[in-house]
Symmetry: C2
Subunit: 179 residues, 2 copies
């Protein structure tokens, strides 16, 4: 599939012929569905990103308090990484963050994730700092995932989620206003 090809080689590293071959068709057929390489790539980004967000939203919505929301959110995230390495690589293995147009799509995903986290920060720091901290926590998950994916071996997403969310939750409680 196109996702796999782009995930492995990146936007520039994969040619339309590569993508076509992987899909078992030829280039002109690809161009019947997408006007350009960029459009195809962007469509993939959107699809993959939306899937991630939906997973997280669904999981978090089942939580009753902040703590379990954190746990379930991270668990959904790491499960997604575990079962869809390629999707993770496409979004965060990057090259997607290089190009302005693509970066916007990735930012949308991280921003929405951050928005889900921001309310969990209790202290009354200003909105801007709160958002930055929320983005930091998104990075937390990304950093752990990158290592796991790089290592290549399978891993237990729930186990990782337990540790990372413990870290995150304790951390969230500790953020202080700074004068």
């Amino acid at each position: 599939m196109a996702l796999e090809v782009f995930a492995r080689a990146g936007f520039h590293g994969a040619s339309m012929n590569d993508v076509a071959d992987a899909a078992g068709v030829t280039k002109p057929v690809l161009y019947q569905h997408f006007d350009s390489k960029r459009e195809l790539y962007q469509a993939l980004l959107e699809e993959v990103g939306t899937r991630l967000l939906r997973n997280i939203d669904k999981a978090a919505s089942e939580a009753t308090d902040g703590k379990s929301q954190t746990e379930l959110g991270f668990r959904a995230y790491f499960r997604w990484v575990a079962e869809d390495h390629d999707a993770f690589l496409l979004l965060f293995g990057s090259g997607s963050r290089r190009d302005n147009e693509f970066a916007a799509a990735v930012r949308r995903i991280t921003a929405e994730s951050a928005n889900a986290i921001a309310p969990l920060i209790a202290v009354d720091i200003d909105e801007d700092h709160r958002t930055t901290i929320a983005h930091a926590l998104v990075g937390l998950a990304e950093g752990a995932s990158r290592r796991l994916v790089d290592r290549g071996d399978a891993f237990d997403p729930d186990e990782i989620a337990a540790q990372v969310s413990a870290l995150a939750w304790a951390g969230l409680r500790a953020v202080q206003r700074v004068d």
Copy 2:
């Protein structure tokens, strides 16, 4: 400078002519110093990454206990980001993580940062999980920085460092063994 050009446009987005122009020379002159575009880029990565690591090492070595080591380490990191956006973008704005050869350089940086953090995790979880958590914390800083750099406005690195390191330190204490 070459750093600025690559930071803005990425490896693929910047041509050797662009780099040469920015440096006030012409392409062949560039090729007197570097055998290829890749080599030039890699040299930049190494230089920039080493600078970051040196800053962190120096700062952390002045700390007496784990808590202040965390604080000083993050402070050095965010100061580096604040005063050298381009370096941050080159390493983590990515595109650098796409290419296997370049990714190795970036991994070296993150791995060394993680190694500095790992010993601060007190619980006796196995080495592998400890390292993953350490990478997560590196991602924490990266996530916050990306937002700050994306926003574009100047920011106070010490203030961010205070909040992020508070989060990190509290989080580190909370990581549990999982059975």
